[in-house]
């Protein structure tokens, strides 16, 4: 896919209007996973707008987003960067054999208190 096609695909999945962004950086200022991310919420907005999807697809950042929606809530422009992260991650894991998490990984993540909610959520986020 060309950059433009990738961009359109992300915009279709996420239904985000990236042109609304005024580049204030409040999303990135709000992000609790900042330190673990290579690309930060405001960069997702700008890179999607520029069609630079490939680096995002290859980045660990898409698995570090907590989906806590802080960036969405605080964006003064209603841009919703979290939806872009989700869209890029889905584009990555929807590929055949690209599941991030496999059933055999589970036992080593468990301890006696691990709630089922964690596993269900993680599988939903990381696998298809």
């Amino acid at each position: 896919m060309t950059n433009e096609q990738l961009k359109q695909e992300i915009l279709r999945i996420s239904n985000v209007n990236v042109t609304k962004c005024m580049k204030c950086g409040k999303c990135t200022a709000s992000c609790p996973a900042y330190d673990e991310m290579e690309y930060h919420p405001h960069q997702f907005v700008s890179m999607v707008n520029n069609g630079d999807i490939q680096p995002l697809l290859n980045s660990e950042s898409i698995y570090r987003c907590l989906s806590c929606f802080a960036c969405m809530e605080r964006c003064p422009r209603g841009v919703e960067p979290a939806k872009l992260v989700e869209a890029v991650r889905l584009m990555a894991v929807r590929k055949q054999g690209a599941n991030r998490m496999k059933a055999e990984d589970v036992p080593c993540m468990l301890d006696e208190n691990t709630p089922g909610q964690l596993l269900v959520s993680a599988f939903r986020k990381y696998s298809k």
Partner: protein
């Protein structure tokens, strides 16, 4: 049947070059009602006008058509010519055969053909013209200024300077507005009080200016030149004519725990109070929400200590009615509530403050006597974070904040940062910005000085979260240039809150039938060319009620509004435009459709008695148009379902006749 004269102008070769003017004059001679038709080199010249005048006399013309340049050019000229010859000026129609014919078409044949058609349309219209006389209305030579901030004061002073009486209505106990609360003013850093209070005193001492403080406008009727305004004078429980402003009562009042709104609640005042030392009028006011005497009937200390006998616990609201020729709205602005932006922890920590609160904290007359101290513990802050654009520039779908730029924040934040660094060089100052907007004389230079000379840290980025922890405010922010997330342990966080129109503006706009935009700012009659007039005739706009403005801009707009008011009050009578709407009462069903679309509130309804067969009568509700208020747009004529509403000069049958004439091949 009209007797119509047609005058075709050559305009040198401007028209004659592409249009066969003789042929046009000849062709139009055959039109019904035309008794005279001629052409001439320059109709607008003295000789040309004489031809028209002579023809009117000689042929007893009742209407004339001039085929010439655009009516926007010479309609007024030819109307005067007609009037000079004793013909009603509104019996003149212009066929635009220059701008809209000879200049845009190349060949003589089609140009001439079109000129004839345009002439025919004008003739068809003149057939239906009726003489019109502009209405005249007297002008009450007194102005009302609503709002006593710097905008209202400046407008009032300028109007009074021209010799007209002005009344200022201010809801607070004193005039002065927001500017009285400010410390210094950008970009010259003169003290706000030093330049404002002399103006307040000027207003108080000017014999032509009457200040109704602690009052509000409660009713407006009438129209340009003739407004009847009812002003509610709220009971202040202190007789204005007796109080000397000595302030003894405000020291003796036992009710000490009233949040002081002048200091934005950062300290307390008494239940009887004078807002600040330089208040105008300097008269005490009793706050009925806190006064023990008014609430329980037990106390009365202020009355005992008042040597002037000015205290009156039995006072009631009073209403006065006054006639005004012009009204100026100067209701100003307020910072928005920070309630919905609690990611900045405004409700959680006293040390998160708004910029206006910062002004009070640095003001020598403020709660800390001008020392910059943390509201929570009175300690000197060593690290201050300023956050710009809080609630400004938000998208409408973000459901909080305002869509517009509040315009003044970049500059006052630069001022705050600079003054802090100047007075307390040991304090680190961060300013988080999205863009720094400094379009104004000496503004960008000012901002650069804050950065270059005073070492203020300007960070391109935003604050995402403020976490009060212990005595510190942990500020989590982005630095977009360095690509970092910053964590600053600040002592004070200052929010540049967006500004919004005062809440009183919306009901006032309804009373004045003045229009507002979606943000409740008053709309101007034209955004570029009539910026200080409301579309409602006789209502003028001054200051931030029209849009966010700094002091220099507010003062220039205030003076501009005053100039417009003076221009109006100078006239003894207002001559209206006779091309206004009028309702045919026989057809009107009183449905209110027309009033709903009228942008000027020119249409009113009344019950009228109509004669019916067999000597009976019938009461019916019918519309009537106030010709002094109607501006002649014609919106009502189309809205009217019964065809009762029509527009003089552009009547339905006139436009229809033009259509017919153009389509008659």
């Amino acid at each position: 049947m009209q007797r119509i004269g047609v005058f075709v102008c050559w305009c040198g070769s401007n028209i004659a070059g592409t249009v066969d003017v003789h042929a046009v004059a000849e062709a139009l001679k055959n039109e019904s009602g035309v008794v005279f038709s001629t052409d001439y080199q320059y109709m607008c010249s003295q000789a040309g006008q004489d031809i028209i005048k002579n023809a009117i006399a000689e042929h007893k013309l009742t209407g004339i058509v001039v085929c010439s340049c655009s009516p926007r050019m010479h309609e007024a000229t030819f109307r005067k010519t007609a009037a000079a010859a004793g013909l009603n000026p509104y019996m003149v129609e212009i066929a635009n055969i220059r701008e809209q014919c000879s200049w845009v078409h190349k060949d003589m044949l089609s140009g001439t053909e079109k000129a004839v058609i345009l002439g025919r349309a004008a003739i068809a219209k003149v057939h239906l013209n009726a003489p019109l006389t502009p209405g005249q209305s007297p002008v009450a030579k007194r102005a009302l200024v609503i709002g006593g901030g710097i905008a209202g004061i400046q407008t009032a002073l300028d109007i009074a300077d021209a010799g007209f009486p002005v009344d200022i209505v201010e809801t607070k106990p004193t005039i002065g507005g927001k500017m009285a609360q400010l410390d210094k003013t950008f970009p010259t850093l003169d003290c706000a009080a030093c330049i404002l209070t002399p103006k307040m005193v000027d207003a108080a001492q000017n014999e032509l200016i009457k200040i109704y403080s602690y009052s509000e406008v409660s009713q407006v009727s009438g129209y340009v030149g003739n407004f009847d305004v009812t002003i509610k004078r709220r009971a202040r429980y202190v007789k204005e004519d007796l109080c000397t402003g000595c302030g003894l009562c405000t020291e003796k009042c036992p009710q000490k725990k009233v949040p002081n709104e002048f200091n934005l609640g950062m300290d307390n005042r008494r239940a009887i109070y004078i807002p600040f030392a330089q208040a105008v009028p300097k008269i005490a006011t009793i706050d009925p929400d806190y006064c023990t005497m008014l609430k329980t009937g037990k106390c009365g200390i202020c009355s005992k200590v008042c040597t002037a006998g000015a205290i009156d616990y039995t006072a009631k609201d009073e209403y006065i009615t006054e006639k005004y020729g012009a009204i100026v709205v100067a209701t100003g602005y307020n910072p928005i509530s920070m309630e919905k932006f609690d990611e900045f922890a405004y409700s959680q920590s006293k040390d998160v403050i708004t910029s206006l609160e910062f002004e009070r904290l640095t003001n020598a007359a403020g709660p800390t006597a001008g020392k910059l101290l943390r509201p929570s513990d009175g300690e000197h802050p060593h690290k201050i974070v300023f956050v710009q654009c809080v609630g400004s520039r938000c998208d409408s779908c973000a459901e909080k904040g305002k869509e517009y730029c509040s315009k003044i924040c970049c500059m006052y934040t630069a001022k705050h940062a600079m003054l802090t660094r100047d007075k307390y060089p040991d304090t680190e100052v961060y300013v988080f910005y999205i863009d720094v907007r400094t379009p104004g004389k000496a503004f960008d230079e000012f901002y650069r000085r804050a950065v270059e000379e005073y070492g203020v840290h300007y960070v391109k980025g935003m604050v995402g979260k403020v976490v009060p922890q212990g005595k510190k405010l942990m500020v989590q922010a982005s630095d977009l240039i360095d690509g970092k997330q910053l964590h600053i342990d600040a002592d004070l966080v200052v929010l540049a809150a967006a500004i919004e129109p005062d809440k009183s503006a919306r009901p006032l706009a309804t009373m004045l039938t003045a229009s507002m935009d979606t943000n409740d700012f008053f709309t101007e009659a034209h955004p570029k060319l009539r910026p200080v007039e409301s579309p409602t005739a006789g209502v003028f706009l001054s200051g931030a009620c029209q849009g966010p403005k700094d002091i220099p801009e507010t003062v220039s707009q205030a003076s501009a509004a005053a100039a417009k008011v003076i221009g109006l009050l100078c006239k003894d009578h207002l001559t209206g435009n006779p091309c206004v709407a009028s309702a045919n009462e026989m057809l009107c069903s009183g449905c209110s459709q027309c009033a709903n679309v009228c942008p000027y509130g020119a249409i009113t309804y009344s019950e009228k008695e109509f004669r019916m067969p067999n000597r009976t009568t019938l009461m019916r509700r019918v519309a009537s148009v106030n010709p002094a208020v109607c501006q002649g747009c014609g919106a009502c004529t189309v809205a009217c379902p019964s065809g009762a509403m029509d527009l003089n000069g552009f009547k339905n049958n006139q436009i229809m006749a033009e259509v017919d004439a153009i389509c008659r091949n």
